[in-house]
Each structure stands twice: as C-alpha cells, then as structure tokens.
Subunit: 241 residues, 2 copies
DNA sequence: ACCTGAACACCGTTCAAGT
DNA sequence: ACCTGAACACCGTTCAAGT
C-alpha cells in the first residue's frame, strides 16, 4: 500500500543522475540514522545524493511520503519464522524483532507509533499472523480484535519509548536538572522513590537522560513481554464479560 | 524540574505587552490544539499573542523548551485520588486519566512517548505512587523496577498510538489507498484478515485512516488495562526467575 | 522520463537597540 | 526587565525550462 508510487513499467533509459526510488530511500535512511529527524532535510538529502533538492520530488511527492517509505522499509519482515499456532513464541518473537528494528534505527522510533502514516508501512502478512496466533490461542471471537489492539500497541509502545529521542544538543543543562531532581527527592514525601532513586537514575522511564541506544532496558522489556503474554492468556480465557 | 525557568522572584512591574510565562503557555497549548505540531510555529504563536516572535524567547529560550512545558502542563495531576495500596484501581485509574488527557489534547500525543524531554514533565509524586502501588501489590524488590517500566510504557503506549497524528491535509489519496488495500485482502494468503477486514477497517490499529478523536478504541483500551493488570499480577507472583 | 535552476513563502534563532 | 526590529541562515515546495 505504498504511496508516492510511479507507474512507469516501461524501460528506463539509465537516468542521467543515476537516481531511482531505492537509491533515494537508502540515502534517506542513512541520513536519518546520521542526523535524526530534526536534521533530516530534503536539501541535506539532496546534498548527500549530489543532486538538486527538487530532483527528489520526482520519486517522492512530499517529504512525509519519503519518511513513510523509510519507516516501511525499516519495519519490513517483522513476522517471526515460528508458526503462529505456537502463539507464545510468536508474540515474544514479534516483540523482540520490532525492538531490534528500532535498535538498529533508533531515530525512526519517533516516526512510528505517534504517526498514523506509518500504519501503511506494516504488511498484511503480519496482521494475519497476529490474528492467527490469537485464534490458535483460543481467543473468543468477540475479544479477538481488542486483543489484537493490545498486541499492536504493546509491540510498538515499549520500543518507541525505550528509544525516545533526546533533546537538542545542549543536553548538559537538562541533564544537570534531571540529576539534581533525582538527588533531591524528599524522603518523607516520596519514600519509595527516595529509597530507589540511585537504582532508577538514568536506568528507568521518566528518570532517564539517555535512551535505549546507550542504556538498554532489557529487564523492563523482558518483563513487558511476560506481562502481555500472561495478561492476554487471562483476558482471552476469563469467563465473565 | 522545569527548564527555561526565570529566577526573578522580585516584584514584576506589569510588563508593557502583558506577556508572562503562563500567558505564553496557554496560548501555546491553544495553538497546538488548533493547528497541530506541523503548524505550531513561534511566529504563529507570536501572531496569536500580538507580539514579535522574538518576545517569546524571553520566557522560553528554545521552541523545544516551550513544547516540553506544554506537555508538562497537559500531563499534570495524573495520579488518581484512590489509595495506591489498592493497586488495581490505582493503575486502572492512572491509565484512564492519561488517556483522557490525550483525548483532550490529541496533538500532544505526538510529543510524548517518542520524546525524552517529556520525561521531565511528569511529577515525582506520580512515580512514587506507582512504586507504592506495586510494593503494596506484593511485588518482590528485584522485579519492582522492571514492573515500573511496564506500567509507564503501557500507560503511554496505548494512548499515544490511539491518538497518533494523521498525515497532511491531502488525506484523500492515502485514505483511498487504505480502503483499497483492505478491500483487496487475499482470502487464501490472509484468511483471518480476510474474514475480519470489514470489522477491522478504520476501527483497529494498522488499518485506520482516522484516529481516536473520531474513532475511539474503547474495547481495545479496556482490554489493554485488563491485560496489563492481570499480567503484572502473574509477573509479580510467579515463582521461577 | 528525469533533472536543473530560479523563485516563493516561509522557518528558528541571534543580536543590538529601545524603554 | 521586557520587548522591538532587523537580519542570518536556513526550510519545503512550485513551476518553467532543459535534455
């Protein structure tokens, strides 16, 4: 379901500048990995390709279409090889593969999840695979699609947050603020946080100043997979409405 | 832990243009609600305030600082009134309140989750409350912080995706593409999706062309809350490592 | 079919200057 | 302390023109 597609199925007479859809796409992913969403510019991409900025518009009519294609490229082949009929390994493998894709290209985390366009990225085979897994897990039909939504949002939610973008380059000030706030936690007002603040500082959500590229949340991720699978089991097989 | 703070605790002699931090913040949230992140411009905000664009920089040194403050403002007072010792209603209420905040200001969904800066937004009381809830649920100490990460990412993940931003204003083309793709699902290659495609079209993740503001995912959200709570229960009390 | 080149209507941010 | 006003170095996108 790609947008910005060219139909020309005819012979291509070796374009003068050697540009084509895949070349632009590869360069775009390289640029995004290198500079992040803020630095990702049509003009910077053109510089990288050695062409005029407007040349890119022949292949992608808008910057958003190009970014959507990049997301689609990164998220291709997410479905695990395991048989969906063995639903637990299938779901766990899916989550793991999604996370690995985000780890390889952390800057796309900001473009997924919070953007509906990226939905067009994911292939129908993956959707069918998840539905198959849930059906074989014994999910009743009237809960199937709710369970599906839980799987999708859980798959994307954790990794999106783990690799959340850092603020601009003047990090130092905000890092100092974070450190100070964590160090100054009041023992009587926030006793639990006070007790755990050294273990939590920069290692858990809401108290980090680095993201998953430098400080992975492995324990949290494993817990997340276990929680979703155990919770789905209960949700699918619990009696009452 | 706000950034871009002014220290001047002294008397303020009624600024000529009537500008101050709260006025700017309110106008910023109003502008964001009205036009979304793409239209959110320092110059547009200045127009709305009747001042020069550069005036805003007196209160917020960078656009990012202003956006972080807007996120912080929207996410204030998330902690439910219920006692964290009753951990299930506490977690469920927390998720519900987070979702309601996103529903009130859907455009901030794109700014949370995928952005580390927004972390500075959330107050320490909320973190302490979640930790208290998990401790009173009987979570063993060595699993406490992993469970905490599951709670945070689950709280933010679903709502962020439910209110994910739509593409630009030329929706029609991409909506037609989505409709066509859903209608053309192959019955033999994707049997489950084929069977469910009418029920899923525009109503579930990955197959939507509208977001939660017009098509809420109520069933999915309720399932998500149930799954996380039941899954946490299992994770916290399961014996083996 | 594919790319150049100029041009339009914008941006965020800096900085000196005013009051 | 707070705001104006000009200026800098950029943007995405359009459109006519070339080959």
């Amino acid at each position: 379901m790609g947008s910005g597609e060219r139909k020309s199925a005819g012979k291509r007479p070796a374009a003068p500048a050697g540009l084509n859809r895949d070349v632009v796409l590869d360069a775009a992913l390289g640029l995004l990995d290198a500079v992040g969403p803020d630095g990702f510019t049509m003009r910077a991409l053109a510089r990288r390709l050695g062409v005029y900025p407007t040349s890119i518009y022949w292949y992608f009519p808008r910057k958003n279409d190009l970014l959507a294609a990049v997301v689609a490229h990164v998220l291709r082949d997410l479905a695990p090889e395991t048989d969906p009929r063995d639903w637990r390994p299938f779901i766990a493998g899916l989550f793991r593969r999604y996370r690995e894709a985000m780890r390889r290209h952390p800057h796309v985390a900001a473009l997924t999840g919070a953007n509906l366009v990226s939905n067009a990225a994911v292939d129908l085979a993956l959707i069918d695979g998840i539905l198959a897994a849930l059906v074989h897990a014994g999910c009743p039909d009237e809960r199937l699609l709710a369970a599906f939504d839980v799987v999708i949002s859980s798959m994307a939610g954790f990794a999106t947050m783990e690799f959340a973008a850092l603020p601009g380059e003047d990090q130092s000030a905000w890092v100092d603020d974070m450190r100070a706030a964590v160090a100054a936690v009041d023992a009587t007002r926030h006793p639990h946080l006070h007790r755990l603040r050294d273990r939590m500082a920069n290692r858990h959500f809401m108290l980090r100043w680095e993201n998953g590229t430098t400080v992975p949340l492995d324990a949290g991720f494993d817990a997340h997979v276990a929680v979703v699978i155990a919770g789905l089991e209960a949700f699918m097989h619990h009696q009452e409405s």
